[in-house]
Amino acid sequence: MAFLGSLDIVGSALTAERFRMNVILQNIANEKTTVTENGEPYRRKQVIFQERPLSFKDELKKARGGVQIAAVVESDRDFKLVYDPSHPQADENGYVRYSNVDTTEERIDLIAASNAYDANLSALSVLKATIAKTLQMGGK
C-alpha cells in the first residue's frame, strides 16, 4: 500500500479541511440561534487538528500519516446580550442571549480552511502525475 498510501495523506487533509469548513458554516448558520437542545444559545464550535504520525521507519510497508481531527470543542466565550424586550426569549430585564459566534472570525477561518484545501488539491495533482508516471515504469 505504500504506492497509494500517499493518497491517504492528501485525502485525510482534504477530509479534515472539508469537515472544518462544515463546522464553520454550521457556526455561521447558527449565529442567531437562541435555543439549542440543552436550553442555552448556540455555542461556537472549533475543530482541533492533530497530526496522524507517519511511520518513517517502515514507511514503505504501511504508509499512514496525514492529519486527523482530535476534537470538536465548544467555545465558552460569553454569549452576546442584545436588548430586545419583545423577543420571546428575552429575560426579565429584556435581554436576549444570542450565540457566541463572531461571523467575521468565522469568515476568516473559512478562507483559511479553503486555502488549505486548495493547497492540498494542488499537492494531489503532483501526486497523481507521479503515480501515472510510476505506472509507466519500464515503458518508453
Partner: protein, 118 residues
C-alpha cells in the same frame, strides 16, 4: 542476473528516497493548519555516504528532522507552504528522471537480448 545489477539497486534506492521525500512534503502540507506541528525534512547526508557504495544499499534508513528553528506562526506551526510545494514538484521531477533511467536500463537489456534476432 540482470535484475540484480547495481544500477537497478541504486535506482530503486533513489525511487524509495524520492517517495519518502514526497510523503514528507505531503505530510507537511496536510498539517499546514495543525497547531504545534513542526515541518519535517529528510536529511541526505548520511544516506549519500551509503549510496556512494551501491553494494551497501540494503535498507534505507532515512534521517527525518523536525525544523524547530524557523519562525513559527502563533500556534507553533512552522510549515512554509511555498517551500513544501516547490519541494513536492522537485520530487516529481526527480521521480520522473529515475523512471526514465529505469526504462533506459530495460532498453539496454532488450537491445542486448535482441541483437541476434535482427
Amino acid at each position: 542476473m540482470f535484475y540484480n545489477s547495481n544500477n537497478f539497486k541504486v535506482l530503486e534506492a533513489g525511487l524509495k528516497l524520492t517517495k519518502l521525500q514526497q510523503d514528507i512534503h505531503l505530510q507537511n502540507i496536510a498539517n499546514i493548519e495543525t497547531p504545534g506541528y513542526k515541518a519535517k525534512a529528510l536529511v541526505f547526508k548520511e544516506i549519500l555516504k551509503e549510496a556512494s557504495n551501491p553494494k551497501k544499499i540494503k535498507a534505507i534508513r532515512a534521517a527525518i528532522v523536525e525544523n524547530e528553528n524557523s519562525s513559527a506562526q502563533p500556534d507553533g506551526n512552522n510549515v512554509d507552504y511555498e517551500v513544501e510545494s516547490i519541494g513536492l514538484y522537485k520530487t516529481y521531477v526527480q521521480h520522473s528522471m529515475l523512471l526514465d533511467k529505469i526504462s533506459g536500463e530495460f532498453d539496454k537489456y532488450s537491445y542486448v537480448l535482441n541483437c541476434n534476432m535482427r
